[in-house]
Subunit: 352 residues, 2 copies
DNA sequence: CTGAAAGCGCTTACAG
DNA sequence: CTGAAAGCGCTTACAG
């Protein structure tokens, strides 16, 4: 009532046929202007070629004149296609995830899809409920988070097209980076420098990639006859690195690899605070090559993956899945590249 | 056809009443189960209290049993409320903007709104068209970008609730940081160190905040009797800082302030490459206190603003505007805080 | 308080 | 090729 009155008051004082409340032109307006049936307008606009050339032309002209924009909500109702995708992440602030988001956003936009982003900061249950909330309004989901159990993810994937980034839930499409190769490059570098005992500061216990990297490290340790040790971090952040530092030192390793650059940076900061020189007394390396890795002194040795591309690839795979109605064959793990910088150096016994 | 057959094939082989294609329960299912009219279900679910307690209870029970989730698209059609907000940014990668996005996302989520993000990397026209595309599917827009002319923004604001971040288009709601105070703090610090000639490396020519900061700097220069010079950067990035470096040196200033930390970092990198010591020969400062400012050596003196809060505040203001139907009174400019670190020091003539 | 009806802006078989 | 009709899943005056 109130709403209507307000809307009416805002209308121009002409007695034009009733205008939609939004003030936007609809296919009915076009139909009237072009002298055709609304259904013809719909056809002309949504699948060109199904209508005679001259009618189509007339309709296009009318649409342009009325500055017509299709209403995606209205279209979504009969078709069930919302033309929007969701990406759910644990923490937008993490440099790794926003690169992924950017890649995803671009791929989505270039296919005329809209991207909504959901951050699930809190618990895994918050995450699940965010997904639940989004479900009816999206055509698919990119899951770039570590909080959900594989079975839960598989379950969601049963209800909506989904692709996971950096995890491989059973039966679910995913895009991952090549952990074995990444770790192999990094360890090769460290071994060449003479390191024989290496620490790995892990990411969250639920993180698939962290587990992968540790597994790869175990494999490398056998190959090279290394002593390796896994150290928990609490969280994949600078603070996580701080928290792990004492255990790193206590382990007497000569080199430490962080699950990600954030952790590695945290470790370097603690080392600096404790007067332990990097890399002379302790070599440090990470993964991701985030902004800041190059800035810190010494600059951080790390393994880079093309995260933008991972995000884009996830969206492309998702779109294909939406098209075909069934999950797409997973692509190869994405290649990685070792970036050697100043934080790693020759092994040398640290004075006790 | 194909679609329907597929859907049918997927259905359980019972002869249950026709299920909606989505497989989700609708209010009709609830109505049937609860033995009431669909309109009653709608009322019970959307505005509790308009229905007798016991019917409501029955309906809730049925809804829960069917695991009902309202379809936001379907609701949007009659109401015109999509429950989604858009935030449009120039570059997601910019640390400043993703902090803002995070704040916006949280505020939106806590009001049960969904946030879609649009990146407009390219030209201002790409930006305008992205907005155009989003317009029908959102209830409001947060504009955190620098590419659009104030009149264009004002025009868009006439068609959809909008609030701008870090610009003040005429007649448009906005949230901005307190440039005058920020610059005053920073210049006070530099003056105390003995600097009398200061360079300002600007952001994009279309950037309202960059202009604000420069204006404030001019005002400060009068107050303190300083020589100040504005230097263009091309872009608000590290590369922009690189590009501006020669002009900075050529200007013979003893201190330089970047429009943002990215530019300041770029300048520091060039200085390091050229063997110019910071801060001994050149003091450098920035704005934003991004991740990385603390990592670089020497750590960057900068002015911090609470960007998360800015994003959240923009969303709140937008929501109020959507409620009331008219723009909300702008809040005070947000306070800022000077963070003094190692990149600024006493003025000293640089050897030619 | 609740039911029956109309409508939001599209799409898509079904006829012709 | 195009029109007329029904329907997508909701909401909301209008009656009772």
């Amino acid at each position: 009532m109130t709403t209507n009155e307000t809307a009416d008051a805002a209308e121009p004082a002409s007695d034009a046929p009733k205008r939609p409340r939004s003030g936007r032109a609809t296919i009915y307006d076009i139909a009237e202007l072009a002298g055709v049936n609304p259904s013809t307008v719909s056809r002309a606009l949504s699948r060109p070629g199904r209508v005679s050339a001259k009618t189509e032309e007339k309709i296009r002209r009318a649409a342009a004149e009325l500055n017509f924009r299709i209403n995606p909500m209205a279209r979504a109702l009969p078709t069930g296609r919302t033309m929007t995708l969701a990406v759910v992440v644990a923490d937008i602030t993490n440099p790794v995830v926003f690169r992924t988001i950017r890649g995803a956003e671009r791929a989505a936009a270039s296919s005329n899809y809209t991207l909504v982003i959901a951050e699930s900061q809190e618990s895994g249950s918050a995450e699940a409920s965010a997904i639940e909330r989004l479900l009816p309004s999206v055509d698919g989901i990119v899951l770039a988070t570590t909080r959900l159990a594989p079975e839960v993810i598989a379950d969601i994937a049963g209800r909506v097209p989904l692709v996971a980034i950096n995890s491989r839930p059973p039966g679910v499409s995913s895009v991952v980076t090549d952990a074995a190769d990444a770790v192999s490059q990094l360890i090769g570098h460290l071994v060449a420098l003479g390191h024989t005992s290496i620490g790995y500061v892990a990411g969250p216990p639920t993180s698939w990639s962290s587990a992968q990297r540790w597994e790869a490290l175990l494999a490398e340790s056998e190959r090279h006859g290394l002593a390796v040790v896994e150290i928990p971090s609490g969280s994949p952040t600078i603070e996580g690195g701080h928290a792990a530092y004492r255990r790193v030192i206590a382990s007497r390793v000569t080199a430490v690899v962080g699950f990600n650059d954030l952790i590695a940076i945290g470790i370097m900061q603690e080392a600096a605070a404790a007067g332990v020189r990097v890399p002379d007394e302790l070599s440090v390396a990470g993964f991701d090559d985030i902004f800041g890795s190059e800035l810190i002194v010494p600059a951080l040795t790390t393994v880079r993956a093309d995260l933008d591309r991972a995000g884009a690839q996830a969206v492309e795979s998702l779109l294909a899945q939406i098209q075909d109605g069934r999950p797409r064959e997973d692509a190869e793990p994405m290649p990685t590249e070792l970036i050697v910088r100043g934080s790693t150096g020759p092994a040398s016994a640290r004075p006790l």
